[in-house]
Symmetry: C2
């Protein structure tokens, strides 16, 4: 079975680990979000690709869900001692190596997809990981900064990098708009459209529907490719009981005018794209509303508390995909 | 008193620490060797500048004489795990920060001299540290690699980077030639010639006469500036009892046809440049030969076993400079 998964960071990575357990013989291609990539200290950092790679390759910091296990932060401490920032983005000493290798290869002319493949040669994630695009796409968030007087730009409306919104500001101000800058001119990376066209099923893990999966779908050709593939497309709600399972998905959902409910997210994807949708058992009441929108819906436990729970969720998604296919 | 010191790495840095103790009120300008700078992992590494900066700024690993105190090597371990080399150059996690900040500033268009000044803003070495040049100069060593069959180039005669000769090969094959590539086209960094012209005394610490002080003197204008300054120029022998005090200076002395003795090094500099020369007490027998070459010479203890010993050596050098001046 060939499975294509669109993945953001932590939620996508943990779901993928469950999927590998649930379907050990499947041929899994992961299309990774690169909209939250950022240049820091002259280095190219790809947080979502790395989270998938480290999680599936056994190098992740399990507790925090991102970054490396057994990590130290001496390099970052020294950068701060030099007065060189930003200091709000947590890069560890081991993690830095990935960004240095990536940056060197990019400087040598390799596209990000080839670089990602080379990095995965070491990590052996057991899936094929492809960035959504080799072209630069950067998710920006329009915000009005608090009029605190604390910084020169306080009170101003401005567009900031997604990481600045998410990590530095911790989504503490409303996102007025979310724009994947550069997406319109971007092309899917080599292998992305081929994987979609050859898939038996396409899955949307409980990743952020706006800044993770939404950004991937914004690359011209990807949304159309999935809609036209003629295979079951099944997603899992990242919203449980009207709140994000993790992260601050509600903040960016508001920016695109979508309420923070499992049903609203399904409607946001729409029946033109999505065939099946899993909501948590606490949201069983919304199954009817989702099905009324033309999307087959089941209520199952969606709390990814451990690998077993993630595997059960993956099995439910594959079961729903078979139901869709048989319908 | 304005003192100009030409410095390499460990020997120069330790002597400078003694000089600061010996002449606490002196205005000291250090012209640092950049011929052993190297690009590693896309980063600009300046080993000699950093050794001076860390030693005088209190950040040095005292035991090994280079690199940072309390250092870890996680980043380098990870680069090796990625199969990315070279693995023979010891860059620690804290040390990496210096190279990242330097590389970022160079990429932004700042010359190395301005970058060095910015790095020293943090370290406060108590001297003005200027690289010999803002232009790229790279010391290469011509060698015939052992015909071991172990590598594709074994048995070949080739020019390799100084660090490859010094650190990787540990000077295990004869140096057939030493060439500061790029020196002929280079200009002294801003402030170098001005400091020399305004100096009351110029000192050559017991640094390597070929690949450290020799490289600095190879930058057009520096040797002439020192010879024309009309102030005492005093050096300290890095050779004690026919062997280098540390390092492998004898290996590169052979490449320039100079025997490994305290007297031969003085003659190599020559009386056109050097006014005074300190040899170790074990080399007292060579004082006559050096003076016959027109260079005033004294035999004093030259083993820099600790800061006190380094300070005593610096005092002897300044005393000899006064003797030269009074002559």
């Amino acid at each position: 079975m060939r499975i294509v998964v669109l993945a953001g960071g932590i939620g996508g990575a943990r779901f993928l680990r469950g999927l590998k357990r649930a379907a050990p013989d499947a041929d899994i291609t992961v299309i990774g979000n690169t909209g939250d990539d950022i240049h820091l200290f002259g280095l190219k950092v790809c947080p979502d690709l790395d989270t998938v790679m480290y999680t599936l390759g056994g190098g992740i910091n399990e507790e925090q869900g991102w970054g490396r296990a057994d990590e130290t932060f001496h390099l970052k401490e020294e950068l701060t001692a030099y007065g060189v920032g930003p200091d709000w983005f947590g890069l560890g000493d081991r993690d830095f190596a990935t960004h240095i290798v990536r940056t060197q290869m990019l400087s040598a002319g390799y596209p990000l997809s080839a670089v990602t493949e080379a990095l995965c040669d070491r990590w052996k994630p057991g899936v094929r990981l492809i960035p959504m695009s080799d072209d630069r796409i950067e998710t920006h968030v329009a915000v009005t900064l608090p009029d605190s007087g604390a910084t020169p730009d306080s009170g101003e409306r401005k567009a900031i990098h997604f990481q600045e919104y998410w990590v530095r500001l911790r989504a503490s101000v409303p996102a007025e708009a979310v724009v994947p800058v550069g997406a319109e001119q971007a092309k899917p990376a080599p292998g992305v459209l081929e994987a979609i066209a050859g898939a038996d099923v396409v899955l949307f893990p409980p990743s952020n529907p706006v800044v993770s999966i939404g950004t991937i779908l914004a690359v011209p050709g990807i949304r159309e490719g999935i809609a036209d593939a003629g295979v079951p497309v099944v997603g899992l709600s990242p919203i449980v009981g009207d709140a994000p399972v993790r992260g601050m998905a509600d903040k960016v959902l508001a920016a695109v005018g979508v309420e923070s409910t499992a049903a609203a997210v399904a409607e946001h994807y729409g029946s033109g794209l999505l065939d099946g949708w899993l909501v948590d058992t606490v949201d069983a009441g919304s199954v009817e509303r989702v099905e009324a929108a033309g999307i087959r819906c089941r209520a199952v436990p969606l709390m990814m508390t451990d690998l077993d729970a993630a595997a059960r969720m993956a099995r439910e998604a594959l079961t729903l995909a078979e139901e869709v296919r048989g319908a």
